[in-house]
Symmetry: C2
Subunit: 397 residues, 2 copies
Amino acid sequence: MTALTSDRVRAVRGSAIRDLLTLTARPDVISLAGGLPAADLLPRERIARATADALTDPAAIQYGETAGLARLRAVIAAHETDRGGRAGRPVRAADVVVTSGSQQALDLVARAVVDPGDAVVIEDPGYVGALQVFQSAGARLVPVGLDEGGMRVDQLADALAGGLRPRLVHTVSSFHNPRGVTLADERRRELAGLADRYGFLVVEDDPYGLLAFDGAVPRPVAAHGERVVRLGSASKVLAPALRVGWLTGPPEVTAAVELLRQGADLCGSTLTQSVAAELLADGPWFAAHLATLRRAGAARAAAFTAAVAELLPAATCSVPTGGMFCWLEFPAGTDTAAALPRALDAGVGFVPGAAFAVAEPLPAAARCCFASNPEGELREAVRRLATVLGPPSPFAP
Amino acid sequence: MTALTSDRVRAVRGSAIRDLLTLTARPDVISLAGGLPAADLLPRERIARATADALTDPAAIQYGETAGLARLRAVIAAHETDRGGRAGRPVRAADVVVTSGSQQALDLVARAVVDPGDAVVIEDPGYVGALQVFQSAGARLVPVGLDEGGMRVDQLADALAGGLRPRLVHTVSSFHNPRGVTLADERRRELAGLADRYGFLVVEDDPYGLLAFDGAVPRPVAAHGERVVRLGSASKVLAPALRVGWLTGPPEVTAAVELLRQGADLCGSTLTQSVAAELLADGPWFAAHLATLRRAGAARAAAFTAAVAELLPAATCSVPTGGMFCWLEFPAGTDTAAALPRALDAGVGFVPGAAFAVAEPLPAAARCCFASNPEGELREAVRRLATVLGPPSPFAP
């Protein structure tokens, strides 16, 4: 049986991250590979209390509305309004569609907006889940670079001036996955302006924005213009197993996403949406929980970067100001993908830069997640990494 | 902003069911419209206990594997093996992919198998969620009729002999939505044989099979051949808010579905999958729960059909032997879609046949769900329906 699958499924590249998650699940491996929130910081008891409360209502286990639980849409709208709203105006509950993580929002937006052959601008290196989604949609991928200020919006502007007419521009605007950088405020304004001028849609993918170590959450791209779809997620600030994400955007797009979600999976879980609504609406608790996550993230990032500076002196490392990821660049000639099996043997996992590469192969880079492990484990992980990618030991044969 | 959405989203027809669910949510309306399991029979306390147990493990709220929780895949494999296996062989855990309801399984199979322009055979009248999925995939829909023995496999065989070469044939094999009928055993064997002979894939969509009133669960189409993907769901036998469905099928298809699920929403909820695994593995409890659902379903179906025979004598009504739906056909000239607003004013909701129509418009038909309401409510619902679609009252002006 060789012809069962469609042409388009063969255009989708498998996720190196996922394959790696399998490998790094070995108990002897400290994993810097996944994008998992810290297990020790997940608010399990608060979730258990909210779940028990929700289950006193029979409606909590019945089908729910496709666009999401009304109570959850309202609290998300309030949060998004606090963040800066849509083009400076308040976000209404009717502007919110709840999805199964922000990954589903990304997939449904791609299906709602992109026709096969359309140009889609993505960041390079880029989020693997976005590459998959746009490949699956049959898009023609156009990479644009990143620097310390996030997406090179100047490169995008040049390409547009040169005739590029993308249907959609995707950006992980804050604490980029995998690069760790944040789109500078003036670039956010400029990007929203380019969307208006050239008629494309910006997809602002923002699962990490609330994890700013200093609590200064970046003002969204969506605050600067109408042609922006914003994606958010409870996975990194509450828990992944709620499978709660959302999008806000122009009514034409949210209506199309809602229609497509009927076919995609009918609706989300009323139960986990009730829990998310309860926790996001509990202002004092949520503020204290975010403060804990930020404090822990800052301490872990500091421990990780200090260990890299000490034990991997030849590597350059991005300076984390929030989120979950550091981007390491080793000297030219390094092949992190080739080194990975030896790193796993040494008891440490990471994701080679090649997994995120669009135009350039990035053989010397690696993405490391500093958020999932406490400081001591991170230092040990870097020590193990140095046995494979660090300076040769003076005692080596 | 008029050009934000894709051409293909405009090919997808909105769900009349969904729009109706909104209308029938009015407290004064008895709804026969939805496909909702009976709220009074949902095992809420058992779910609450299993949820509290699951939440003692931190892993229950972390990300999980894309193909589903290992424990849940194993128990589903055991259930599917009991049902007849794949082509008579046992189903292994590795053959199972867990999805967000069987609707997501249907969507991902369509994306994994169907290229735009491919012929896809669907039943007429057909499941609205399937019509949406195949429209969204760009399929060319080829309807085939139904009779009391389910899909007219003889019609399909004729079309194949005449040159039709579909990529996929979709059937709701047991207690059909919306027609209520069940595919006869010899037709199951014949359909699996045609798939082998002509090289198409059968998608056997089976959310209702366990709800056979007499407990004689039909033997799956998948028991008769290799080229069958079977879709199952916990929504109708446990609770919709678990959002647990699954598929089993040829490895090429399950691998493609798993790959696409990474982009679609990464993974399901570890928490609700843990709960589903616990309940499906609790054999004595699950058997007793199914017996309760079957007994209640049989009593409700009997009450509904008796009321129809008495109060709507001109209508013909399918004879339910399981599942959730009756199919009513009123005398020629009746327009159920036009009558619906008056029915809602009279306090009863249903879905007009037109919502399920593929080739023929079916203006005189209606789908009624007998499972969601207790007997007294069902009789009252039919009484209200008769004021709109029944014989004229002798006291009418």
